[in-house]
Symmetry: C2
Subunit: 458 residues, 2 copies
């Protein structure tokens, strides 16, 4: 498969990266735009990746002492007003609920009826409503730390949306913690950044740099925003997760106070941290190639697809039986702490089309079984990451499949690291900075123009 003159995705990454991104999503059937402006539909293959992200991160959050809870979707407008920076950051892009009923009008259409006493916004993030609850729950130092996470949907009315990367509604987790001391809150902020970095590298195979955002890019209301950033294949940076040290700003806005061990009343120190379905966008842009999606095995909805090759009707039953048995044997194998997930695609369609569907979906391993393989008790295997193909005995397959998946996982991370280091240059002066981008643009398009730093980010 790998590189022939023709690629499965048009345009290629080189030709038009943003359009390539949309086409990868479409051909892997991950998600699509809905009729509701800026809101996407996450389809099963895409949602399964998100479920894997959730499962792993949720385990990491619990292992670091956090518990899940659920807070209201709606936030009274007056809550937003409590923190000045926060209003500034979110008032411009929020969905406002003003009525609680629809009523048939004289035009035969439904119109909003029953205005609310106070408008509500759909949460763009939950610091203010969670702060209100924490203020009720925290009285003494014995109530701290409060370590809670929420898996939820949030809405930010973005003007320009892009599937997974920036949508009006998105799915995320938001951790919200309250602590007795500044040191402890800082420790939490850094700890969760480390969790994100570890997840990105160990599971997404996406190498990240960690650091602090500039004041202009800070979360509205935070004292400091730390983040993980990854280099996409167009050499732009993607902000993939943030961890905020909120100081006492939100504790003061929400009045989260406690009696410390000396009987003094103090404001708590809080943090918040989140990652979203944007991670799926990062995964696509880190590993996808000109034949479509490439999924790191640890987050793959399925690890292996078995493709029966049945050119002649008389051998069809035997091949299908062999494949069904092989599927069972593979499913009995534990890998990465769970049974392997195996697809057997026996749909009645052209073998080439079927194979390319799975290539575009990014499944790590494909196994082809034809009539001749039966006699040899052998199969033909193909790796999605490298395009390598080889024949091997069934017994060998069962013994080595876990190791091959480990190799794929490691190879994807290494490849992404190599890409990043190849495209990372140390620049120490503003002049060198401009010269570098002038030359880069000249080399790529023959048409020199300055690239502004903003265009280096997704």
């Amino acid at each position: 498969m790998s590189k022939t003159a023709k690629t499965a995705i048009t345009p290629t990454r080189h030709e038009d990266y943003p359009e390539w991104y949309q086409q990868v999503i479409r051909s892997a059937d991950l998600a699509e735009n809905s009729p509701v402006r800026g809101c996407m539909v996450i389809k099963p293959w895409g949602y399964m990746m998100w479920e894997n992200v959730q499962r792993v991160l949720d385990g990491m959050f619990k292992a670091t002492g956090h518990k899940n809870a659920y807070f209201p979707l709606f936030i009274p407008v007056s809550y937003l007003e409590k923190e000045a920076q926060h209003v500034e950051g979110f008032a411009k892009e929020c969905a406002v609920v003003t009525h609680s009923r629809l009523q048939l009008g004289e035009d035969g259409k439904l119109h909003p009826a029953s205005p609310l006493e106070e408008p509500l916004i759909v949460r763009p993030t939950s610091e203010t409503i969670i702060g209100e609850m924490y203020a009720r729950w925290v009285q003494s130092y014995r109530d701290l730390p409060l370590l809670i996470n929420q898996w939820a949907n949030v809405v930010r009315w973005e003007m320009r949306t892009r599937l997974f990367l920036r949508t009006a509604e998105f799915l995320w987790q938001e951790g919200h913690t309250a602590h007795a001391t500044e040191e402890e809150a800082w420790e939490e902020t850094r700890k969760m950044l480390d969790v994100y970095a570890k997840f990105a590298e160990d599971y997404m195979a996406m190498p990240v740099l960690t650091g602090e955002k500039t004041p202009g890019e800070r979360f509205p209301g935070a004292v400091s925003t730390l983040c993980i950033e990854a280099m996409m294949q167009d050499r732009k940076a993607l902000q993939a997760g943030t961890s905020h040290f909120l100081g006492q700003n939100f504790a003061k806005a929400s009045n989260i106070r406690f009696l410390d061990q000396n009987g003094q009343l103090s404001y708590a120190w809080t943090t918040s941290w989140g990652v979203s379905t944007r991670l799926i966008g990062g995964l696509i842009m880190t590993h996808g190639d000109d034949d479509g999606l490439v999924i790191p095995p640890r987050l793959a909805p399925s690890h292996v697809v078995i493709l029966p090759v049945t050119p002649k009707p008389d051998s069809r039953t035997a091949v299908l039986e062999y494949c069904a048995k092989l599927k069972e044997e593979l499913q009995a194998i534990q890998w990465d702490g769970k049974p392997l997930v195996v697809e057997l695609d026996d749909r009645d369609m052209r073998g080439g089309d079927k194979m390319w569907q799975w290539v575009k979906k990014g499944i790590p391993l494909r196994i082809e079984v034809g009539p001749r393989d039966l006699a040899n008790d052998a199969v033909f295997m193909a790796r999605r990451d490298t395009g390598e193909k080889w024949s091997l005995q069934r017994g060998e397959l069962l013994q080595t499949v876990g190791a091959v998946l480990n190799q794929i996982q490691a190879n994807l991370l290494q490849r992404a690291r190599d890409f990043r280091s190849t495209h990372t240059h140390r620049i120490d002066s503003k002049k060198d900075f401009y010269d570098f981008f002038y030359a880069a643009e000249l080399g790529q398009t023959g048409n020199p123009r300055w690239i502004c730093p903003g265009s280096l980010e997704w």
Copy 2:
């Protein structure tokens, strides 16, 4: 423990059932009302039960061939208009988003700005938006059946709310399927009802009756609504889950059509089915007693709590070490397909208060370890369901703890079944019906009045 003159919950079930319900939730720290009208905050102990409900049901949905996906939170008002019954059912109680921005007014407050072209409602259920997507996805009989589930939050602006049972925002799952034939859609409707019934009995230990709702209680737009109903301890019925056969109503409203094997264009047959956080309310009302919550072990956030009894400082370290080791040993035990979840509560507080906190939280088993137990390598165990307490050797505990949890699970189901059959009477005429309730009311309050059928339901 069990019944002494004083109970941990005031009032008792007998004294005031609805208020008892609120107090059980409060004293188990499951949830509380938020400042947003009708929206609750689900606290960690309550949310962990919901996570267990999700985990088990999700497995059952996947085992029956369904996949998860995610659809938009918002629905254009015009979509609601497509199905006449549906409008009727939901227009009166929906949150309407009319603006996409807030702006500071001259009064120094934030006001809605930027009106939307078309108002959006926050989904009260997703038939119409999912139908719109299915119409795009379904072209041929090969695209059917479409078997998708969504875990999501929904909003129905209820006037009178009650934690878990009826809240303006709630969490649920909604399955939406499309089929080529009426028979297949009916089969799906019944299959998912069976899944709910099995879940209710096997996991919640809540016996249910299954049946069809009257036309007046049907889901707005359905041809038929099947449901599971359980008897609560006040002898009222709780509708705990519904499965709807939608016929072609929504397929026609959304234009879900396909070319069948004969090349004919036909409307698909659809179903939908859902259960919500209301299940947690049903669990509380089925098993709770006058000392608080009682959780069936299969859905318990934790199975066992170890309570060190340390009356004297000199034995404290030894007792705590023993308990820590015991915790590890218990956590190594697999029960119901997962490791046991064990709490070690070594907080520095009065032993009695601590014990009662766990009773009220409904944890299935409590284990007390004091200095004298160390010498005997024995512990003191208490069952939450029956109040039984006994001393046993540590080795015996480790060998039997799984069996005891099985007994608790079985006992809770049997107890609920017995309660239901004791309070179930066959009545064949309207006269007998009135006589029965007249007598029942007279016996309970000495103050006869007719009970209307509506008051028999939650």
